[in-house]
């Protein structure tokens, strides 16, 4: 009962997060693409496969990292990353691709897919941590890997208890390593507002992670 109620709450938060971030990561003021990318974007928006491929190569790693940080599973991150770029193609095909900032646009798709995944998962199935996907043997210390996973999951859970803006700024600043200016552009806020938000977010995260 308590477990399901918690998941229901998480569902609500994630819904709010999706809508909030839709308005947060606005294309108008998002990260400015470098000049070299502009020609690529023009051609990609006209469905030039070469340019689309170049954009894919340029962004697939970043998007994968962005998603991995939020879901913590390589396979799932791969699937969601592929879906992000599938949606990009779909948008190009339907003539509703990015208007201004490509990076803001593609990150927003990634963000929405992650939210979508969590929403779907919370409805579909509940799996305890012990049933999580197996660790892949890669020579690293398995004990350390388990510990790292637990820490990661604990932190991810804590992030889920922040407001959507706080969680987003924490992720963008400390996981994805965007600068204050970039985050400000992506979240359509001033740099000062982002600094204040960052402070409040870290403070809140600290409180959430402290044992009761």
């Amino acid at each position: 009962m308590g477990h399901e109620f918690l998941m229901f709450l998480l569902d609500i938060i994630l819904w709010a997060l999706s809508f909030g971030t839709l308005s947060v990561i606005q294309g108008d003021n998002a990260r400015a693409e470098d000049p070299d990318e502009q020609g690529l974007l023009d051609r990609a928006s006209r469905a030039d496969p070469e340019a689309i491929g170049a954009l894919y190569d340029r962004y697939v790693g970043r998007i994968y990292n962005y998603i991995y940080h939020r879901v913590g599973q390589a396979d799932l991150a791969e699937d969601l990353t592929a879906q992000v770029f599938a949606r990009m193609l779909e948008a190009i095909r339907e003539g509703r691709a990015w208007r201004t900032s490509f990076s803001g646009w593609i990150y927003r798709i990634a963000h929405n897919l992650v939210i979508d995944h969590y929403r779907r998962r919370s409805r579909a199935t509940f799996v305890e941590l012990e049933e999580a996907s197996p660790l892949v043997a890669d020579g690293a210390d398995p004990v350390r890997k388990v510990e790292a996973r637990l820490e990661g999951e604990h932190l991810r859970a804590a992030l889920g208890k922040l407001t959507e803006e706080q969680a987003e700024v924490i992720a963008l600043r400390f996981l994805d390593e965007f600068s204050i200016a970039e985050v400000a552009a992506m979240m359509n806020k001033t740099e000062g507002a982002i600094k204040a938000l960052q402070y409040r977010a870290v403070l809140a995260l600290r409180r959430v992670m402290q044992p009761a």
Binding site: P49, G53, Y56, Y64, D79, R87, I180, Q198
Partner: protein, 630 residues
């Protein structure tokens, strides 16, 4: 007061975050703000804990490659779909004008101009151009246009027209030289103005070759891994192609086609001192020089152009001198067990009018085929006759120097075939298909195999990384594969099917009547065997072959009789799990409404997916069932 303190902490926290991101330690940051160290320390520790999550395990290379191939296949489909999309009236008009200009431009290119072009057609073309451009003053206005200007296409068109109108060969050559010089000047202007131009044609002479940069007629052109280089690059060789200007004052090569150098130019003159830079005289377009044999019309004494290659030199270091002709052999066929017939036989038909003093060509290349009296040397097919002189014992695979008589109809008669090197190893025919994984100069990686190209390799237009291609070539000594042709294939189709494994025979599986291959890259989840139900995702290639990308063992295949109602008393779960179980053959729906299919590869462990309490309408549970801790 508190507000002021918070404001200070906001700034200090951010400064510390920036410092830590730049590599400083937490203690250094705290030392900067000793009076606030107690407040900052726990915040920085929290931020550091988040950063601990930052490292992401590297993506599996095979998966990344497969995903990219799937994406590119979809990208090509998208491109086709967009091209075929109906457009509005304005769009149609714009497209018509663009195509008209492009079409005329193509039509008027020197290589496509028939020598005896009907005067009427020429007049009609000129009239169209004059009406379309002169009346608007566009011709005058375009005179100073450079690439990137709206009127530059008009200028290009006018240039072509000028070449077309010059009916005299010499005048045409001079005009083409002038235009080539203008093109070089335009490229220089683009560089100087830091202008962005996606594509510019140019022609020049190679002055210096570095691994990542060539100097061509004074222009420094960057060579990237994706740059397509045709021919054998050599200093002093003529080169034409396309470059792009990213807008930072540099030039990046897109395509560089190096023209073969005349033999006389290849042979080093011991008395001359090589000069690294040519003069500033505009360089004639290379196409022109190869189309008109004016520089080879004079008989060249054999002694003057003795071959300089030693018999041990490799074929790729030999300088191909075969100029492209209109009768190129698409796929030279190599005989595995060559039985060279060097002497003319009864099939030989003497050429009645061939005079030994006619224009000659000299080539150094490998004998690819001997068919009676006809030899294929490199890309040149030549006749031999009773007077053909043979030096050495050349056969298929030999490196030879051949002196060829150019007949009036453009065909060749060999006067001399001299063996320079025997076949180091019998080349084997090689054919393979796969994804173009990289194009780095003359080295292409196709389906994990590195193949090399040269100026004779026939490559379909528009091939790029991610495309599916078939390579026909030969494996030469040392195991290197040299491509004779690279043909673009339509992208493979994504397929998804489910069913019982009917047979497993080596790497060939049959599921529900469909046979497919399982490769090392196939992701197999679980340990499926004959009789098990599996979901399969695969790629179907144009030749009909099917290769599985993933096989997912459907766990604990339920049957209707195994379904039991929940034994636990009903809880407040909105819908008890009494739904009809999903049939085992149900293909998992893609997790989102994205229509592009090849992204939903089942992954993770075969975790049984419990029945969903109450899926919303139209909300299909994701097939991945990737767990996430609560």
């Amino acid at each position: 007061m508190t507000q002021h303190r918070d404001d200070q902490l906001v700034q200090m926290l951010n400064q510390c975050c920036e410092l830590i991101a730049a590599g400083e330690s937490v203690s250094v940051c705290l030392e900067r703000f000793p009076e606030h160290a107690a407040d900052l320390a726990p915040l920085l520790a929290t931020a550091a804990a988040v950063r601990e999550l930052r490292p992401v395990p590297p993506r599996a290379a095979s998966v990344a490659l497969q995903r990219r191939a799937q994406f590119m296949a979809s990208a090509h489909e998208t491109s086709l779909a967009v091209k075929n999309r109906p457009i509005g009236l304005l769009g149609a008009l714009a497209l018509w004008w663009h195509k008209s200009l492009s079409g005329l431009d193509e039509l008027l290119r020197p290589r496509g101009i028939p020598r005896a072009m009907p005067v009427g057609l020429m007049g009609a073309l000129v009239a169209v151009i004059l009406l379309g451009t002169l009346t608007t003053g566009a011709v005058t206005a375009s005179a100073t246009a450079i690439p990137g200007d709206p009127l530059y296409p008009v200028k290009t068109l006018v240039d072509r027209t000028r070449v077309l109108l010059a009916r005299d060969t010499q005048a045409r050559l001079a005009l083409e030289q002038q235009i080539a010089g203008e093109h070089l000047q335009e490229v220089r202007s683009v560089v100087k103005l830091l202008r962005r131009v996606d594509r510019m044609r140019f022609a020049g002479v190679i002055e210096e070759i570095k691994p990542d940069e060539w100097t061509v007629s004074g222009l420094h052109i960057r060579i990237l891994p994706e740059t397509v280089i045709q021919g054998v690059p050599q200093v002093k060789a003529s080169v034409s192609g396309t470059v792009r200007a990213p807008g930072d004052g540099t030039l990046i090569a897109v395509l560089l086609a190096v023209e073969p150098m005349p033999v006389a130019a290849v042979a080093p003159d011991p008395t001359s001192t090589p000069t690294s830079r040519p003069t500033s005289t505009p360089v004639p377009p290379t196409r022109v020089s190869t189309k008109t044999p004016t520089d080879t019309r004079e008989p060249t004494p054999v002694e003057k152009v003795k071959p300089t290659l030693s018999p041990t030199e490799r074929p790729d270091t030999a300088t191909p001198t075969a100029a492209p002709t209109a009768t190129r052999t698409r796929t030279p066929i190599l005989t595995k067990t060559p039985t060279p017939t060097r002497r003319p036989t009864a099939t030989w038909t003497p050429w009645p009018t061939a005079a030994r003093s006619d224009p000659k060509r000299r080539i150094i290349d490998w004998v690819r085929r001997i068919d009676g009296s006809r030899w294929t040397i490199g890309e040149i097919t030549t006749d031999t006759d009773a007077e053909t002189e043979y030096i050495g014992d050349a056969g298929v695979g030999s490196l030879v120097e051949a002196e060829l008589l150019v007949r009036p109809d453009g065909s060749y008669l060999a006067l001399l075939i001299k063996e320079l090197g025997g076949p180091a190893a019998t080349p084997e025919l090689w054919e393979g298909s796969g994804v173009v994984q990289s194009i780095a100069g003359d080295r292409w990686t196709v389906g994990g195999t590195v193949v090399r190209i040269d100026g004779d390799t026939q490559i379909d237009d528009g091939i790029q990384v991610g495309d599916w291609v078939t390579v026909n070539g030969e494996r030469r000594s040392g195991g290197e594969i040299w491509a004779n042709s690279i043909t673009k294939l339509p992208p493979p189709e994504f397929r998804q099917f489910s069913g019982q494994v009917e047979s497993i025979n080596g790497d060939t599986w049959t599921v529900w009547g469909t046979s497919f291959k399982v490769t090392g890259d196939t992701q197999i989840t679980g340990d499926p065997g004959v009789g098990d139900y599996v979901d399969v995702e695969a790629l179907e290639f144009p030749d009909g072959s099917v290769v599985a990308t993933s096989i997912y063992l459907v766990p604990d295949t339920p049957t209707p009789t195994e379904v039991t109602p929940p034994t636990a008393p009903p809880t407040d779960t909105p819908a008890p799990p009494t739904d009809t179980p999903v049939p085992p053959t149900d293909t998992p729906a893609p997790p989102t409404d994205t229509p592009v299919p090849p992204t939903a590869i089942p992954s993770g462990a075969p975790t049984p997916e419990p029945p969903s309490p109450s899926p919303a309408a139209g909300d299909t549970p994701t097939p991945q069932a990737n767990p996430l801790p609560s």
